[in-house]
């Protein structure tokens, strides 16, 4: 019923032909006599059919016809036009005799159409006997097949997916381009990305033990800092959450070193050894800090811990409003004012399913 639901070229049939099938509704393009010689370049294969479709052929014929007409009639003078304008249309006699017509009338030459489409009585017959709404197509389906707009679902054809391109997006206040269009449609890379989400510490689970009800398991959470400044992070456990799992965060306040592109190539070489007790965190690598969290699941089922994360960083004070983005990055004034900015957010981290204790 929905030929455009999703198609996958399937294997060759007995005749060495390919066709489309929908895995959802079992629709098969052979039912509308659509088959392909090879599984690639379907559009090109359909093009031939498209070019011989009656409306395309008729359109081409009309275009030629009108072109001839427009070329051959240089004499549509303004006076003639204005005569109609002034309402003296009665003077325009319609020429009935062919000879007269050819001399004076600037009506179009006789047009010979390229095709003839028979009247479609199928719609009427179908409608008169319809008992169910699903026997006719929806307006949306018809608008996908504008040249025929059939009432019967059997005559629908698969629809090509409309190309969606990325558009360039500019920040409304700072006019900074946030997203640039990409030439290649299949590339998913965003050129410049100033999404707020990427500016907050990224939390990943570095190691995890299986969750067992009423049994303490230790989880290592790694916080990475995407910013170029050092940040101070404090983590709190949302203690009103239900079900109430036992949560103990070993180091609630810690710092994370700034992000530096160079470090991407030598991860883990800088920082303290894991489990170093002197600085109250579990591990500290380049721009990430790991902390240990002990979780005692209260009941079986998914363990999800809400965390309230506050982070503070030092940032140059934004100059007065109306400033332009400094592309070169050079600052003329030497005394840049720094201010502390604090951002806080809630997050819920899922640690998987807790299994019941062996005893119970």
């Amino acid at each position: 019923m929905h030929p455009d639901a999703g198609q996958f070229p399937t294997g060759a049939t007995a005749h060495g032909q390919y066709h489309l099938v929908c895995n959802m509704c079992q629709w098969n393009s052979l039912s509308i006599h659509m088959a392909f010689a090879k599984p690639t370049g379907l559009t090109d294969q359909l093009k031939k059919q498209e070019e011989t479709s009656p409306d395309v052929m008729e359109f081409g014929r009309l275009k030629d016809h009108l072109e001839k007409y427009f070329r051959s009639k240089p004499g549509l003078t303004p006076s003639l036009l204005s005569s109609i304008q002034s309402g003296s249309i009665q003077s325009l006699r319609y020429a009935t005799s062919p000879s007269h017509r050819s001399r004076t009338s600037d009506d179009m030459a006789h047009y010979v159409p390229a095709v003839q489409v028979m009247e479609d009585t199928e719609n009427l017959e179908r409608l008169m006997t319809a008992v169910n709404l699903s026997q006719t197509t929806t307006m949306k389906q018809r608008l996908g097949l504008l040249q025929r707009q059939p009432y019967s679902p059997e005559r629908l054809q698969p629809k090509r997916i409309h190309l969606r391109i990325k558009k360039s997006r500019r920040c409304r206040t700072c006019r900074h381009i946030l997203v640039n269009p990409e030439q290649k449609a299949h590339s998913i890379r965003f050129k410049i990305n100033l999404v707020a989400l990427n500016q907050i510490p990224n939390i990943t689970i570095a190691s995890i033990q299986p969750m067992i009800v009423q049994t303490l398991s230790r989880v290592i959470l790694r916080f990475s800092n995407p910013r170029h400044e050092e940040v101070l992070v404090s983590v709190q456990h949302g203690d009103n959450a239900q079900p109430l799992h036992g949560v103990h965060i070993h180091s609630t306040t810690f710092t994370i070193s700034p992000f530096n592109e160079v470090w991407e190539y030598e991860v883990g070489t800088i920082g303290a050894a894991p489990g170093n007790a002197q600085e109250d965190v579990f591990e500290r690598t380049a721009n990430s800090t790991s902390i240990a969290v002990d979780i005692t699941p209260a009941v079986a089922g998914p363990v999800e811990i809400p965390l309230f994360v506050t982070f503070t960083f030092r940032t140059p004070k934004t100059p007065s409003e109306g400033s332009q983005l400094d592309v070169s990055g050079s600052t003329t004034t030497s005394e840049i004012e720094y201010i502390d900015k604090t951002v806080a957010f809630w997050t819920i981290i899922g640690f998987g399913e807790a299994v019941p204790t062996l005893a119970s």
Binding site: D55, E58, F59, P74, L76, A114, V115, Q116, L127, M139
Partner: protein, 535 residues
């Protein structure tokens, strides 16, 4: 890597979104916007004015209403400004882009100024979508052809021009008469074009590509009128039975009969009855409905609906007579709104007497409401009946035998068709006429007689192309043709745009801010003047 020459040539003739030669053709209706590139035989996109895309699907109250923004799903294309203007509106209600009367307050109490503002916001949102979401093209590089109805409010034209020039920076816009454009798709330039759309039905005689606007006649009996009538019929005649308890009948709740609901019924279940039942004088509406019911042969359609109050599923049974007789309201007229038939005949009668026959013998029906199955055949019957029975059209009665629609087969075609059938005697192999659909043929060529013509020696000459284009696309296709030939109505250039647009109603007083395309070939300006007849 060198392409073969033939291939390069092939590419150069194809429409491409990368070239800037082809123009943008827009047909902006009150319910649907048709958009695409000139030189193509059909619009690329057909955008509905429903507040939600879903409404176009099979919405009949079963699905939950998604909270959606205006006009589209809330995705990356979301435009918040526009949604604010229509906040609170039901996503299943049509929000017509414009109404015929844009002056004064509307029924929601908005002033003219507010309405124009809303129109501008919405139009710019839709046109942004047209360019950046649907056609994926740069508005600054392409000229625009807008199909305009001759009676569209000037304020609407001005707003369209304003949005195109000021917001989208289009280089030039030309408004071209939609009736004339539709007529061009039949290859002729004389005819009576009947546009049966949503807000109104307008009948415009055109002679030798000159729209004779003084003789235009309109009636509100069109899509919207039909919706209202259908709503009344459903409310009065179709109770809903609960799915669990079929004897428990309810009246259709008012809230269920949204525009989307009515549109679904209209586009999927309605048709024009092939049978005319003459109404005797002084016959009541109820009695007439009984007549309709007794003479109906169509089946009843059961539609599942969701009853919000009862929280239960219900079955709405739409009887066959409503399905075939709802359209009757378009053929029956009264003092306030005359019937489509009378409107057509009045336009003919107003026309110069020597044009009446050619006009009646080359009528063309366009517009969305004209898509109702059997509508056109019924209209022919109605016109013939009116000519015979109504004393008002006595002067036209002699023309009854001349009545023909341009996309109907001519007598010659019919004759050749019947002789061919008789000759071939069921064998359709060599005589390429009236062949049955070979099962191996793809369905794209259903109902055409043009197949394998190349193979056959003798070329059949047709008189009429038949219903090769759908009525709701004809105006757009005409615009596409004109655009492909580098012709159009009078062009307004962005540099010259001062807020006003040329219009036939103001043609005499306006010192034209437009420059017809004089720089290009001579043929273009001729065409422009031919098309610009009404200005």
């Amino acid at each position: 890597m060198a392409l073969p020459i033939a291939k390069i040539r092939d590419l150069s003739f194809k429409t491409s979104i990368y070239g800037i030669e082809e123009r943008i053709v827009l047909d902006i209706g009150s319910c649907y916007i048709k958009c695409g590139l000139s030189g193509e035989s059909r619009p690329r996109h057909f955008i509905s004015m429903f507040l939600s895309e879903e409404a176009l699907d099979d919405y009949l109250g079963l699905r939950p209403i998604h909270q959606q923004h205006f006009g589209h799903e809330c995705n990356e294309f979301c435009n918040e400004r526009a949604s604010r203007t229509c906040r609170g509106a039901n996503p299943l209600e049509y929000a017509e882009l414009y109404e015929l009367d844009m002056l004064g307050k509307d029924n929601r109490g908005r002033t003219e100024e507010q309405r124009m503002k809303i129109l501008e916001e919405r139009l710019s949102e839709y046109l942004y979508d047209v360019y950046f979401k649907h056609l994926l093209t740069d508005p600054k590089q392409r000229k625009v052809i807008v199909c305009e109805s001759p009676l569209a409010p000037i304020a609407l034209k001005q707003t369209i021009a304003k949005v195109l020039f000021e917001k989208l920076q289009a280089p030039s816009v030309s408004f071209t008469n939609s009736h004339l454009l539709a007529l061009l798709t039949t290859g002729t330039t004389t005819g009576l074009v009947i546009d049966c759309g949503h807000l109104e039905t307008s009948v415009l005689p055109i002679y030798a590509s000159r729209p004779m606007t003084p003789f235009i006649r309109t009636t509100p009996r069109a899509g919207k009128f039909l919706s209202t009538h259908l709503k009344k019929l459903l409310q009065e005649k179709c109770p809903i039975s609960l799915a669990d308890n079929p004897t428990d009948l309810r009246i259709i709740p008012e809230g269920m009969l949204t525009s989307a609901f009515l549109e679904t019924i209209k586009t999927r279940l309605l048709f024009a009855s092939p049978l005319i039942i003459s109404a005797r004088d002084n016959i009541g509406e109820d009695e007439m409905n009984n007549n309709y019911r007794d003479l109906s042969t169509s089946t009843e359609v059961h539609v599942e609906v969701w009853l919000e109050e009862e929280q239960a599923r219900g079955i709405l049974a739409i009887p066959g007579w409503i399905r075939e007789r709802a359209t009757e309201c378009l053929f029956n007229g009264d003092e306030d709104a005359q019937s489509v038939t009378d409107t057509i005949l009045e336009a003919v009668l107003k026309s110069p007497s020597d044009l009446r026959r050619p006009l009646l013998s080359s009528m063309l029906l366009i517009g969305g409401t004209a898509q109702l199955p059997n509508f056109q055949n019924r209209l022919v019957q109605e016109i013939k009946r009116s000519l015979q029975t109504n004393p008002r059209w006595k002067r036209l009665a002699g023309l009854a035998e001349a009545i023909r629609f341009l996309d109907d087969l001519t007598d010659e075609d019919r004759a050749s068709l019947s002789s061919a059938v008789g000759f071939a005697g069921g064998r359709s192999g060599s005589s390429n006429m009236m062949e049955l659909e070979p099962p191996s043929e793809p369905a794209t060529t259903t109902n055409t007689r043009d197949k394998d013509r190349k193979g056959s020696k003798e070329k059949k000459v047709y008189q009429s192309s038949g219903k090769v284009f759908m009525p709701n696309c004809r105006s757009w296709i005409g615009g596409s043709l004109i655009g492909a030939l580098k012709a159009s109505g009078p062009e307004i250039l962005r540099e010259n745009f001062n807020g006003t647009v040329p219009d036939w109603t103001t043609a005499g007083f306006l010192t034209s801010p437009t420059t017809p395309a004089h720089d290009t070939a001579a043929s273009t300006s001729v065409v422009a003047s031919a098309l610009a007849i009404s200005y």
